[in-house]
Symmetry: C3
Subunit: 167 residues, 3 copies
C-alpha cells in the first residue's frame, strides 16, 4: 500500500498496521496494532500484543514490553536538552548528544496526549493519565497524572480498581 | 484523491476535507472543514458549520453539535482505563470495555492540544483553553483551562468577552 | 514524491523534507529538516538550520529564526478566542479575527508537545519544556515549563547548563 512507509522493519505475525505510517528499522512483535499517523524510529523494540494508537511518535531508544497500551498522540523523548547547534556553534550531528533510553514494562497503559521524557522507566501495569508529562520513573501498579506527573493517592487508585472490576 | 481515506461516511454539502485524513463510518454535516492528518472514527456525529483542525482525533462515541470549533491536535477519549488485556489475561475485544460518550454542544470552542476525557459534556458556547485536560463537565458559557482543567474566574471571563466584542 | 504536498513554497538549499507533509506558501531557509506529518501554513518564515520534528503544526503568523529546534507535536496558535461564528451569528471569515503573531528567536528549543499561544515572543536560546503551554513572552536564555509555563528557578537552570557542558 502506497500510504504506508515501512523500511527495514521486523514485524510479527498477526500485527495490523494502518495507513499513513512511517516506520523504519524497528522491531514489532506479534498481534500488535499500529494506528494511523504513527512514526516509529530505528532501534525501537515493541513486544507482543501492544497497541500503538493514532498520531503517536516513538523515538529511538524506546523499548515497549508485551501487552502495553499506547494512547493517541503519545510522544516519547530521547534527548534531555535538544539543540540544533553544539556549544562551539557547529551543527549537532548524531553522536553529539546523549541518547536517553525509555522502558515501558509489561501491561502498562499510557494515556492519550501523554509526554514521556527520556531516561524514564514506567513500571508493570502502571497507568499514565491522559495529558500527563512524565519526568521520572513510575513504579509498578501505580497511577501517575498531571504536568509534571505525580502519583495519585491510594483512595483514587481504589476507585480505578473498582471501576476496572465493575464493582 | 488517493491521499484521502474516507470509507462509509455521510458527508454534507459544502464540506471541505483536506488531505491525509482517515475517516470511517462517521456522519459530518454541511459546510464543515476537516483539516489534514485528522482521524474520525465510526459513529461520530458532527453537525453543520463545524471546523476540525489538523492533527485532531475524534473517537467513537463523540457527538459534536453545530458551529463547534475543534482546534489542532485535540484528542477525545472514550475508554476510562484502557488496557490491552482483560483481568483474566485474555486480550480485550470490542465489547469488553465500556464506551464513554462525549457531547460537545453548539458553539463551543476547544483549544489546540486539549484532551477531552470520556463521559464529559461540554456546554454551549463554552471555551476550552489550549493544552487543557478536561476531566469533568463544562457548563454553558464558561471557560476552562489547565491540567486538570478548572473554570476561569469571572473577571478573566469578562476580559474574554471584552476581547471578543472589541471593547 | 506523491506523499508530499508542497505548494507555492520557497525552500532553501540542503533542506530535507520527509513524507506526509502539507506545506503551502511558506518560506523555509537552508539546511533545515521538516519531519513527517508536519503542516506549515502560508506566510510562515523559517530561517536556516531549523529542525521541525514530526507531527508539528506551524500556523500563519509564525516567524522562526535560525538554529531553532521545534520538537514533535508542537502546536502554534494565532487566534486568541477561536469561534466558528461572529457575534451576529454569521460564519467567521478570514479577516473577521485578529491574527496574533509569534516570534521564536535564534537558537531557541521548543520541547515536544508544547503549545505556543498567539502573541508570544520566545527569546534567544530559550528552552521550553516538553508539554508546556506558553501563554506569555519568554526572555532570552531562560527555561519555561508547565501548564501554564513558568520560569524554572536559577538552580535548575544551572543544572541544565552543567548538563549541556558535560560537567
Amino acid at each position: 500500500m502506497t500510504n504506508q512507509l515501512i523500511k527495514s522493519c521486523v514485524i510479527g505475525k498477526g500485527t495490523k498496521i494502518w495507513n499513513f505510517v512511517n516506520l523504519y528499522s524497528c522491531k514489532i512483535g506479534d498481534d500488535c496494532m499500529v494506528g494511523t499517523f504513527v512514526e516509529i524510529q530505528n532501534d525501537v523494540i515493541i513486544g507482543n500484543n501492544v497497541r500503538v494508537q493514532s498520531h503517536s511518535f516513538i523515538c529511538e531508544g524506546v523499548t515497549i514490553e508485551d501487552e502495553v497500551f499506547i494512547g493517541h498522540h503519545v510522544v516519547f523523548i530521547n534527548d534531555k536538552y535538544p539543540k540544533v547547534t553544539n556549544k562551539d556553534g557547529t551543527l549537532r550531528k548524531y553522536g553529539d548528544w546523549k541518547l536517553q533510553k525509555i522502558l515501558i514494562k509489561k501491561g502498562a497503559s499510557i494515556g492519550s496526549n501523554a509526554t514521556i521524557l527520556g531516561g524514564v522507566i514506567i513500571g508493570q501495569n502502571a497507568v499514565i493519565g491522559a495529558g500527563a508529562v512524565v519526568t521520572k520513573d513510575v513504579p509498578d501498579n501505580t497511577i501517575f497524572a498531571g504536568n509534571p506527573a505525580k502519583q495519585l493517592k491510594v483512595h483514587k487508585v481504589y476507585k480505578v480498581i473498582k471501576f476496572q472490576q465493575g464493582i
